[in-house]
Every structure is written in C-alpha cells, then in structure tokens.
Amino acid sequence: MKILVLISNVPDTTTKVKFGDGNKELDVSGVQWIINPWDELALTRALELKESSGGKIEKVSVITAGSKVVEPTLRKALAIGADDAIRVDVEARDAYEVSAALAEAVKDENFDLILAGIESSDYNNSAVGGMLSEFLSMPSISSVTSVEQEDEGFSVKREIEGGTEVLAINQPFVAIVQKGIAINPRIPSMRGIMMARKKPLVVKEVSAVGALTEFDHFELPAPKGKVTLVDADNAKELIRLLHEDAKVI
C-alpha cells in the first residue's frame, strides 16, 4: 500500500501579513515558510500508520504544487520521514488550478490513501482535498479526526453536524483531516535531515488548466476600536454594557 500526503507551503502563522504591488499580492519578503500545520499532522499520522502496518504500507510520499521556492518545505517533509517527494511545477493561482495539477500528476500512481488538510492557513479555502477527489473520481471523507488500518481497508472517524461517525472503507480514498488526526507533529531529527538530502524529490510538469478565480486585491481589517475597560471591582458593569450597549446577551 502507498500513502500520499498533500503539503501546502504557507507563511509561518506568526507572520505579520503585508501586501505589495498595490495590495494585489502578499509581500513575501522576510516570510518564513512552513508546512501547513494540518499537513504536518497528516504526515505524522501517515508515518505512524506505515510503522505499525508490519510492512503492509510500503511508502509515504508527499506532494506540493508550486514553484521551486516550495522545495525546502518538501525537504522538511522528507526529513520528518516521508520516503519521497513530488513537486508539481505550476504557479497555481487558485485551488482549482492546484487540484487539477495534483490530479494530473498522481492519476496513474494508484495511491491507496491520500491525506489532505482541512484548510491552508493562507487563503483559508478548505478546497483542495475535496477538489482533488472529484478530479480523480475517488471517494472522500472530510473532517476526519482519526484513521486506523483495519482488515483490508481503513476505519475512519469523522465529525458530522452535531456528532461523530465511524466509517469503514475498503477502497482507495481521500481523507481530509483535522484536529485529532495526530497530537504532536513530528519534527525532523538530525539524522532525518541528513537522510532527506539523498531522498528522491521529483519534479513533474503538467498541462496548464487556468484558474477560475483571482484575487482583485487585499486589505487589512480596520483597526479595532480601543478596548473598553471595566474596573475589576465593578465587574457587574460589564454585564450591563454587554446587554445594553453591545446587545449581545
């Protein structure tokens, strides 16, 4: 069996967001790039599954659609423990273009399980996992909080509106994962970093499909008005303000 983990390359979450070119794009100067936190957890879970599979899962691959600048992030995924990496060489402008490119790159690879994160911390779309599964005509399970190997397939827990479900699935599928999938992300060890240099990172070219959306511009939210402080000895006043002024309770 083979697992594929989708990796989104995003600015570190503490980045102070600035825009350049007339607020048309993110100003990337000084930005530290990281593996999207969900993808880091997905990769961690994929490696755990492989290790406890008794050889049944032979390989964990990672993939990113992006230009050469995403390669350090893929190398980090290799250092964490992925066996090989694919970079799909496109500067995709929206989730549709990303997903189409990923689909073309992996359609003949027959992965048994594809893991995507629920959301990238840059454009907050929650799109690529679902789109990829539709492009590949594969089943998808979203809001997944746990994946276990079982008999011939997997047992998957997911959140639904107002509850949780445990599902069994016996064919290749896409799991879109969220909190719970793994607790602590693995970090690269010294040895992992050394080994990552020798692991394969292949670059795949795909045909261009074109984006279906584009950002016109960005803006920073209006600064919040100053906080209204209430004296700690007169905390009851807070309840009055929330009821009478803010009208929220």
Partner: protein, 323 residues
C-alpha cells in the same frame, strides 16, 4: 438562471445555519435578478421543507433516497450537480460547516465553477462576481473575483445572519439515478451529541485558558456559561493538559467559531488562538496582565483575577436573566 442553496437537515430538521444560507441565497438571487431554490437531501417533512420559504426560497427541491442517509460525498456531489444542471444554476451556496466543506469543493469541480471558501458578503460586484473573504486566518480580507460562468461558495458562519423575506414556496420532489459504485463508506457507529449547546452553534461562548490555573477551577466558568445559555470552550494548552475535552479547543488547530460574544478568560490571545475566534462579533477579555495581546482584539476587558471576577459576573448575569 438561479441560485441554488444546499439546505442541510439534521434528523429531519433545519438548523439556524441552513436558514442563514437560504437568507443569503435569496438576497444574492435578488441582486442577480433571479430565483432562489433550496435543495434538501434526505427524509424531511413537507411542513419543515416549506419553512425555508420564510427565508426567501421560492422553490424547494427535495430528494429522498435511503442510500443518502449517510453523507457520501461523491454521491451527494452527483445529486447536487445534476440538480444544478436542471435549474440552470449561476451560484451554488453552502454553509461553511463540516458538510459544506466536504461537498462544495467537489461540486465546484463537477460544475467547472470557481470556488469561494468562507465568503463573508454578498457580491460587491455582479459582472464579474466579486466577494469578500477572510484570508490568513482573519489577519486580512481578500476580494476574490470569478473568472468562470458559475460559482460555488461556502458562507462563513454568522457573517450574514437570518433574514425573513417570505415567499409562497412550493416543494418539488425529484429523483436522481445514482450508481451503487458512488457509495464507498459503511457506517459502523454514529454518536450524536445531544442536550448540550454545540460550540459551533452557540451565540455566546465562555472560554478558559491557562490563566484558569487548573482543571479544578472550571466550576464557576461552567456556571457562568449555564446562566448565559452559552457553550464552553478553551485554549489549546488547556485541552492538551487534559483540563478540558478536546472538542472545546478553539483556534487555528481547533474549532473556528463566530459567536455573537466570546469571553476569553485567562487567555493570553496568541495569534493561533485568535485565528479561531476573530469572527466573533464581540470579544471580552479577563486577564491579570494588562499587556496581554488579547486586549488588542477585545472590545471589552477587565484587568484582574478571573477567579475574583467570575463570581461577580455570575451574579450580574443571574440578575439580568431573572430580572
């Protein structure tokens, strides 16, 4: 042309977020000079279906197929895409919840429609469509333009609200042929959370951080929440420590919520935490440290010890609720 709104039911009933999606879809249809049609999948009583008319749906298409009792994304996508074809859709609207996130991206590929995740406004322009959406976990706003004929969007929770615009609605039942090969998952177990206000549904949320000091100190926080009819939440270290259940963890790696009011008690306000709650209408902070970053995003605040402040808040809230 039409705007199609997927109205999800839970055990045969629509919840607030479905009404919000229909309200939004109806306003959007008004802007586009077209009709709002709601789509319901699963067994729902006629009277409940008609209740969507109150929020502006002129027609309600109902599809009941017992195989759809379980959310099978590929099959649901097929149903929604086929209906979209029949009603000559311009925009398909989903609520941005677990279900909407599972289906909307697939539907957008099936319809070759541009996708907008977490839209927070009606279109600012119609030709081409342009929407506002949150980006960088709430640190900025993006204005996204459609380059395709059709659009699929998920609506950020509580960003539009519920608006009544009653229509004489009619229900139309439809059948869509679904191949068995579209069904891949088998249900082994289902666990419903009942009798508790769900964090993602709550209008009022009371949340505690490491400043609460220990698992034993949650009594007053829970009491305060109960008096207000609020859901309880916590910061990540609190759930990591096992002081509170993991379902309560809010933030970038936990739940993203947008209540009317969010009480952050003993929470420092790290960016990763704020990322999950910045959609709240009002943020209230109680913290001993007046320099804590939470005060930069809070609307109201008290600089003080939460264990001394909470009893006063409980008393005042009780007076208000009983008054």
């Amino acid at each position: 042309m039409s705007v199609l709104i997927y109205a999800e039911n839970v055990d045969g009933k629509f919840k607030k977020y479905a009404f919000e999606a229909v309200s939004y879809g109806a306003s959007l249809a008004g802007k586009l000079g077209t009709d709002a049609i709601a789509l319901s999948i699963g067994e729902v009583a006629e009277e409940e279906l008609l209740s969507l008319g109150k929020y502006g749906a002129g027609k309600i298409i109902s599809i009941a197929d017992s195989r759809l009792d379980i959310l099978e994304n590929a099959a649901y996508t097929k149903v929604i895409a086929e209906v979209a074809g029949k009603v000559d859709v311009k925009v398909v609207v989903f609520a941005s919840n677990n279900t909407g996130k599972a289906l909307a991206p697939r539907v957008s590929v099936a319809l070759h429609a541009g996708f907008v995740g977490n839209a927070m406004s009606l279109p600012l322009e119609v030709e081409p469509l342009m929407f506002k959406k949150m980006v960088f976990n709430g640190k900025a706003i993006g204005y996204i333009k459609l380059k395709s004929e059709k659009a699929v969007l998920t609506l950020a929770r509580n960003s539009f609200g519920i608006h009544e615009s009653p229509k004489d609605a009619a229900v139309e039942t439809m059948e869509i042929a679904l191949d068995d090969s579209l069904f891949a998952v088998k249900l082994k177990d289902r666990h419903k959370i009942t009798g508790k206000i769900l964090l993602t549904d709550a209008e009022v949320v009371v949340s505690g951080g490491r400043g609460m000091k220990s698992a034993d100190n949650w009594g007053p926080l829970e009491e305060f929440a109960e008096v207000l009819g609020a859901a309880t939440a916590c910061s990540r270290p609190v759930s990591d420590e096992g002081w509170r259940p993991h379902e309560e963890h809010t933030g970038q790696t936990g739940k993203i919520i947008a209540p009317n009011v969010y009480f952050a008690l003993g929470i420092s306000g790290a960016v990763q935490h704020v990322a999950g709650v910045s959609g709240s209408k009002i943020i209230v902070a109680v913290n001993t440290d007046k320099e804590a970053p939470i005060f930069e995003v809070a609307d109201y605040g008290i600089v003080g010890d939460v264990m001394k402040v909470l009893p006063q808040l409980i008393e005042a809230a009780k007076e208000l609720k009983e008054g």
